[in-house]
């Protein structure tokens, strides 16, 4: 009893005393966590909730062995150090962001799993590192990322520029893969939540309950790791880990047809306390007035402050709830932010985003088809270029001489085309184009393909379901209506600092089109033995006929004495009195 107590006391003293890495907090590694939730009501009555958890760690993961992980998850840190990763972006999405009706997404991801990685220049065998990386991530996130291989990996040359610090961009260090068939479920959410410093026990992550999150129109969870400047002088490098989760709750399914949303209605939880490890924990609600009228959205309880920012070219107003401010949890133990519309929203006021796109398959039958992409530029007077990246699996054989780009009835020649044809069973097609979109126009891009017949073992278990073609990626610098100031990452909300901005007149947007489902002709799967036997029979018929003709010669047939049947017939004939055979 006394000995145990003494041991416990010693342990407590040792733990409480200054540890090896905590002597002077000013000099050595420091990691900070900021968490943020953005609630934006969408024009169609749905509401989008975007969670962002940003851990910034002022340490150099590449050089020197880092042994003490505090907020930065050890699994990802060791991955980055061991495989020489410079930037990693993994997104698991279910559903599709309908840009035309919901507006530009803060950060969109294609349906399924998407992984793109920039490796350090020190990595010698990038393909080997990529294979190892996808397998390790497959284990960490319980997703079948191990299906990423050379048949769905491409090396884009212009589309996926690094989002963090980069000196020199040799695109051979970049790999991009999409698994459109990947299904996202609770099994993928749990390990994602485990990477958060507070887990799902405190702070904003208590809202992440699977039964509500997956009952939605769109659910996207992502992990982004990139190196950033430690301060304005950029003399040292910090590593930033952002975990984002975007979910769109449907007006009819989750909202039961009523346009009053609240945290409880969306997540069946309310916020009770903050994560003690977070240095900042805020909830932003988009209360921007439409058409410059007075606000039509009322939030309760009253926010701690109001923040104005220019986001994606528009001036927006946000009601801010700072969970770390002591006044918030004074009155009640829990925070349930409620959004009420003051008057019904006119459906004709739906704003159309400046850039949106759709893609579909044209044609009929199982022999040929056509991929059509429509890109809309709704800006009234500004034209801007867009980079389109298409990755098409090898079994849809693209014919690049049938590629046509028509804008306003005239042919539009792209200023840059990079086309890498597919090799059967080895790599997919890669088509990257820089297309100039004139103001207020629709651009139609069509390319024809032929459907291949695969070997019977290469079809998935449900072959008539079809084969998925991953979403194509559109990257553009969209001109903004309002000039944007350069944002300081530390001071501004997280959702404004996702993409680096080059100048104030345009903002970067990355859109994804719909994935396609294409049917291929199938052989009869029940017939392997029959086919082998029948075809070999035909070959044997030829062999047999030729063998006979080549090895035998003509002879005059000598009359034989007759076999048994003939003799029997002659006996019967003798009885009948008929001449014998």
């Amino acid at each position: 009893g006394a000995m145990a107590a003494a041991e416990l006391l010693v342990l407590l003293l040792v733990a409480a005393g200054p540890g090896p890495g905590r002597a002077d907090s000013g000099r050595e590694r420091r990691d900070t966590l900021r968490e943020e939730l953005l609630l934006s009501p969408l024009p169609t009555g749905d509401v989008a909730a975007t969670f962002q958890f940003r851990t910034r760690w002022d340490a150099d993961l590449q050089r020197g062995a880092v042994s003490h992980y505090r907020l930065f998850p050890k699994a990802l840190g060791r991955l980055v150090a061991a495989l020489g990763v410079r930037e990693l972006h993994l997104a698991l999405t279910h559903g599709f962001w309908r840009t035309r009706y919901w507006g530009q997404p803060p950060l969109q991801a294609p349906a399924g799993a998407e992984l793109w990685v920039w490796f350090q220049p020190t990595v010698t065998d990038v393909d080997k590192a990529w294979k190892e990386l996808s397998n390790i991530l497959s284990g960490i996130f319980c997703a079948s990322l191990n299906f990423i291989d050379s048949t769905n990996t491409v090396i884009p040359t212009a589309s996926f520029k690094p989002l963090g610090l980069a000196n020199g961009t040799d695109h051979h260090l970049l790999r991009y893969a999409v698994l459109p068939r990947e299904v996202v479920c609770t099994e993928n959410l749990t390990p994602w939540k485990k990477l958060l410093p507070c887990g799902s026990k405190a702070g904003l992550a208590v809202l992440l309950k699977a039964e509500r999150l997956f009952h939605s129109s769109y659910h996207s969870q992502a992990v982004h790791i990139r190196p950033v400047c430690r301060d304005a002088s950029c003399l040292a490098v910090s590593w930033e880990l952002r975990q984002t989760l975007t979910v769109v709750f449907d007006f009819f399914a989750s909202g039961q047809g009523k346009k009053d949303w609240s945290l409880f209605k969306m997540f069946s939880r309310t916020l009770t306390d903050t994560c003690p490890l977070a240095s900042q924990s805020k909830v932003y609600v988009d209360i921007s007035p439409k058409n410059k009228e007075k606000e039509l959205l009322e939030v309760s309880p009253p926010p701690t402050s109001v923040h104005e920012a220019v986001v994606q070219g528009d001036r927006k107003t946000y009601a801010v709830y700072d969970l770390l401010s002591p006044s918030l949890f004074n009155t009640s133990r829990s925070l349930n932010v409620q959004l009420k519309w003051k008057r019904p929203q006119d459906s004709s006021e739906m704003p159309i985003p400046t850039l949106h796109a759709q893609r579909y398959v044209g044609g009929y039958g199982l022999q040929t088809g056509e991929i059509c992409t429509l890109i809309y530029n709704t800006h009234p007077y500004r034209a801007f270029p867009v980079i389109l990246l298409e990755t098409v699996p090898w079994y849809l054989r693209l014919y690049v001489h049938t590629l046509t780009i028509i804008t306003k009835g005239k042919e539009n020649k792209p200023s840059y085309i990079h086309y890498q044809p597919a090799q059967d069973r080895r790599r997919p097609h890669l088509l990257e184009m820089l297309i100039q979109l004139p103001a207020n126009s629709v651009t139609k891009i069509t390319i024809q393909f032929e459907r291949a017949l695969l070997k019977w073992t290469e079809y998935p278990p449900d072959p008539n379901h079809g084969f998925y073609v991953g979403s194509s990626v559109l990257s553009a610098l969209v001109p903004s209506v309002t000039a944007m100031k350069d944002v300081d990452v530390e001071q501004s909300p997280l959702f404004t600092s996702l993409f680096p901005s080059s100048d104030g007149s345009s903002y970067f947007v990355r859109l994804y089109t719909e994935p396609l489902l294409v049917n291929l002709p199938t052989p009869d799967f029940s017939m392997p033995y029959n086919v082998i036997c029948l075809t070999c029979t035909v070959v044997a018929v030829c062999y047999g006929s030729f063998y006979n003709l080549l090895t035998r010669t003509f002879h005059v047939e000598e009359p034989s004495r007759g076999g048994l049947a003939k003799r029997l017939a002659n006996v019967i004939r003798k009885f009948r009195g008929v001449p014998p055979l």
């Binding site: 044809p421 019977w456 017939m527 047939e557």
Partner: protein
């Protein structure tokens, strides 16, 4: 004889020109029976477009033509229709001249054998007369030019027509006796589609016969001539391949063309036996069966050479047929080439056993191919087995046709030497059997 030939040529050109301008042209060029991954015009255009984009046409899996074809069509893309019509006409004219010469050779040989008393006395009705042989070259040209298979192949602008043309010139050069030209054209044909390699044996036999060199393994002059011809052939092949290397500065075309022909990775349906077989093959045995099927094309050459060493042109016909049936990506254009020779053996008609049934089988299968394709691919009410069944039937029809002609040929040879009215030992009429 020139005037009827010109009329036939004009008729053929008119038919093709009319079809080019009609809406059937697109329909025909998409048919898998006419255009295969090796010789489709769409792929030639795609290869040229890739070259324009700065990408090597062989970096993908679409283009499987040889660099000389790229070189040819780089300048002639706008005149493609004219090029294919001229190619067909040239093939027909080459076959016409070749068969004309061949008839003279046959007639001379017949006269020699009659004078040497090699023929039995009562075979007068089996001897070919100049009267009946007069129209054979025209019939050959007609059979080639107006064969629906050839017309469809030309309208689809399949490069099979160019291959046929080269083989026709090779046959013309061989029959005229020019070893050098024969070797050069054979090298070009092999360079384009690999399988004409087997035509080396009949050409060699014909040239040896023409030079009156006896075909005995111990004869020195036999080996000397064989070495000469083989070295001419191999040297031209090497020169052509090196020229292709210098056109695009890479050896990429070798796996793309020859590797593709031999390893059959593309399983697009066609009229051959390979596609469904390898679509349903167990992965473990795939390599073994690819080897078996490819050897199947080449291994009939030596036995046929031994049996038919006195009749090299018939040997060439049988060999062409075997190539057309068993090659990895056959099309109807290949069939049209050997069918053009059928009038040359029209004197065998009385010995053919199943000609009516076989022609019916071939005609019905040709009509059923597009029907069952439509039912499988567009209507969705049939599946791949239907089309496969017609493939099997069509190939059996072709195989039995060739073996029927072979049987008739051998039987006529027997009758020529042993007499037409055969009697048994007791004087009654005899039956002839193959034992």
């Amino acid at each position: 004889m020139a005037a009827p030939l010109v009329m036939v040529v004009l008729a053929a050109v008119t038919v093709r020109a009319a079809l080019y301008r009609s809406s059937l042209a697109v329909f025909i060029s998409e048919r898998v029976e006419v255009a295969s991954p090796l010789n489709a015009w769409k792929r030639v255009v795609e290869g040229l477009a890739l070259l324009d984009l700065g990408v090597s046409p062989y970096s993908g899996a679409i283009f499987h033509e040889t660099p000389l074809i790229i070189y040819l069509f780089h300048f002639l893309t706008e005149y493609a229709e004219l090029v294919f019509m001229i190619t067909d006409v040239l093939t027909a004219v080459a076959l016409y001249l070749a068969i004309q010469d061949f008839n003279k050779v046959v007639f001379k040989k017949q006269k020699l054998l009659i004078e040497l008393d090699r023929y039995a006395p009562d075979v007068a009705e089996l001897i070919q007369t100049p009267m009946e042989m007069h129209y054979i070259p025209l019939k050959v040209a007609l059979f080639y030019l107006l064969n629906p298979y050839t017309v469809m192949s030309c309208v689809a602008k399949s490069t099979c027509a160019i291959n046929n043309s080269v083989i026709a010139f090779f046959i013309l050069a061989t029959i005229k006796g020019s070893a050098f030209l024969s070797a050069v054209f054979l090298a070009l044909a092999t360079y384009q589609s690999l399988y004409p390699l087997t035509l080396f044996a009949p050409a060699l036999l014909y040239l040896l016969q023409r030079q009156f060199i006896p075909i005995k393994l111990k004869s020195k002059s036999f080996w000397l001539y064989t070495m000469q011809y083989a070295s001419l052939y191999l040297c031209s092949l090497v020169v052509i391949i090196c020229l292709s290397f210098f056109l695009l500065n890479s050896w990429d075309f070798i796996p793309s063309v020859y590797g593709f022909i031999l390893s059959v990775p593309d399983l697009t349906p066609n009229i051959g036996l390979f596609w469904y077989f390898f679509a349903e093959m167990f992965e473990h045995f795939s390599l073994f069966f690819v080897c078996v099927f490819q050897i199947n094309v080449f291994f009939y050459t030596i036995p046929l050479a031994i049996k038919l060493k006195e009749h090299p042109v018939f040997f060439m016909f049988v060999q062409l047929a075997i190539i057309s049936i068993f090659k990895s990506y056959p099309t109807v254009g290949d069939i049209a080439l050997y069918m053009a020779f059928l009038p040359v053996w029209s004197h065998l008609y009385r010995f053919l056993r199943n000609i009516f049934i076989l022609s019916c089988v071939l005609i019905f299968c040709s009509f059923l191919f597009p029907v069952l394709w439509h039912l499988w691919i567009y209507a969705g009410s049939a599946n791949s087995n239907f089309y496969y069944a017609i493939t099997l039937t069509f190939n059996i029809g072709q195989i039995l046709l060739i073996s029927d002609y072979f049987y008739a040929f051998l039987r006529r040879e027997y009758y020529l030497t042993h007499g037409l009215h055969l009697t048994r030992q007791d004087g009654t009429e005899a039956m002839l059997v193959l034992k």
